[in-house]
């Protein structure tokens, strides 16, 4: 049962920004809806207005250049990420992580912007984007700002986003293109599930980063270790970055153990 709300679908970016300004905290941006509509159904979120961003050109599409790197519109779906030739070739970790989300039906709807803005500690695109050094473009009627992904997440389901702001694009620097990578996700079944623990590693000639999901209030990254860092060193850095809890999905103890297992498994095998 969804409570009554207004549905607005602006076609122009400027209209969207005005609507956001007007409705502010009463509005939620709707992209794939696969998280938002669940929250609304459970009554844990009761916005008055839903503003659909899917019809706005600036929120769509994937662009790549050797100068600027990859720019992904916030309303790009997981399937679009998974199937995009440049993403597959140059940012395979991102394509892989998008494929980890939900079921096929969900991936056809769920968007990168939605996954990041929901800001769940288990967001599959969270730890993978963190290790790729992603930056987030926030837009509002007041202007545009771009912040590093690691500053974007501020707590469990909390971000830097102001009430009148929207995530328009996510940028991935060209330096991360072609990084060696690996990702492991612990689930409770082999079918679709949230990450009970996830670990993503990316390595370039300049650095090595390990991102961890479901082990802290936000996805976290232990960034810029030397590219030849040992399993021991990476593990130490990772354990320093996390503080898992006991919950219905797993215990703290098991999560800590699995993070170590995953690092030990992934690091020697980086593709």
């Amino acid at each position: 049962m969804l409570h009554e709300f207004s549905y607005l679908a602006p076609r122009e970016r400027k209209d969207l920004l005005q609507l956001l300004k007007k409705h502010s905290s009463q509005a939620r941006l709707l992209a794939g809806g696969t998280d938002l509509l669940c929250e609304i159904r459970l009554g844990t979120d009761r916005p008055e207005v839903l503003i659909d961003v899917k019809n706005i050109a600036e929120f769509r599409g994937i662009a790549f250049s050797e100068q600027d790197g990859l720019a992904v519109g916030a309303a790009v779906t997981c399937v679009e990420l998974m199937e995009h030739p440049v993403v597959r070739k140059r940012f395979p970790l991102l394509a892989h992580a998008a494929g980890q989300i939900g079921s096929a039906q969900l991936r056809n709807r769920a968007t990168i912007g939605g996954n990041l803005c929901t800001a769940s500690p288990c967001a599959d695109l969270g730890c993978s984007s963190l290790v790729l050094g992603a930056r987030v473009e926030l837009v509002s009627a007041r202007g545009t700002r771009v912040i590093p992904m690691k500053d974007f997440f501020t707590g469990v389901k909390a971000t830097q986003l102001k009430d009148d702001e929207a995530v328009q694009r996510v940028f991935y620097p060209v330096v991360a293109a072609g990084a060696k990578w690996g990702m492991e996700k612990l689930k409770r079944i082999k079918g679709h599930d949230l990450a009970v623990v996830s670990v993503a590693i990316a390595r370039t000639t300049q650095w090595l980063r390990v991102g961890i999901g479901s082990c802290a209030p936000t996805p976290v990254v232990a960034a810029d270790l030397p590219p030849n860092a040992s399993v021991k060193a990476v593990t130490e850095a990772a354990l320093k970055a996390i503080d898992p809890i006991d919950d219905v999905r797993a215990s703290r103890e098991f999560r800590l153990a699995m993070v170590q297992e995953f690092i030990a498994k992934l690091l020697p095998a980086l593709s």
Binding site: L2, F5, A9, L37, A104
Partner: protein, 163 residues
């Protein structure tokens, strides 16, 4: 707001509220009750329909979002009073038990067959992973798909009987 959609090849224009889900729109506004609600939270896949060529959980799509869209549901599968090849295979192979997951299951399989006309077992399993079935254990569903695509080895479908 007013929306125009094409459902199973037929055009509809309806006034819908902002909070109308596609699932309730199909079931309550268009009377197409074949599509079922199993959880309302996008987990079980019972409400799967094909929207603009892609499967979606219709419980997590708003009707106003699909304005101008093309939708396929279970009701469009049989043509001229005849089961489709896929439906016939499900019928033959006991790919249905209680039937509540079936409409969504068919849509996921239909979508798969557009991309992989002769899917492997692994591809079938991957494609229906988002559709819970509590009755069949999936095996006879998988065999139905193999049969529909001419890949079922007859030997495998019967139980071994021992006296």
């Amino acid at each position: 707001m007013k929306i125009h959609v094409k459902v199973n090849g037929k055009d509809y224009t309806r006034e819908v509220a902002g909070n109308r889900t596609l699932l309730r729109f199909l079931r309550e506004d268009l009377g197409l009750t074949g599509t079922k609600e199993g959880c309302g939270a996008g987990e079980c896949g019972a409400c799967t329909v094909i929207l603009n060529g892609k499967t979606v959980n219709s419980c997590l799509v708003l009707a106003p979002e699909v304005d101008g869209g093309v939708i396929e549901t279970v009701e469009g599968e049989a043509k001229n009073g005849k089961l489709s090849k896929l439906q016939e295979a499900f019928h033959r192979n006991h790919g249905v038990q209680c039937g509540f997951c079936t409409p969504g299951m068919l849509m996921s399989v239909k979508s798969l067959l557009k991309i992989h006309p002769k899917p492997t077992v692994a591809e079938i399993k991957e494609a229906i992973e988002g559709n819970f079935c509590r009755c069949t254990g999936y095996q006879q569903i998988i065999e139905s798909v193999l049969d529909a695509t001419g890949q079922l080895k007859p030997r495998k479908e019967e139980i071994r009987r021992v006296r």
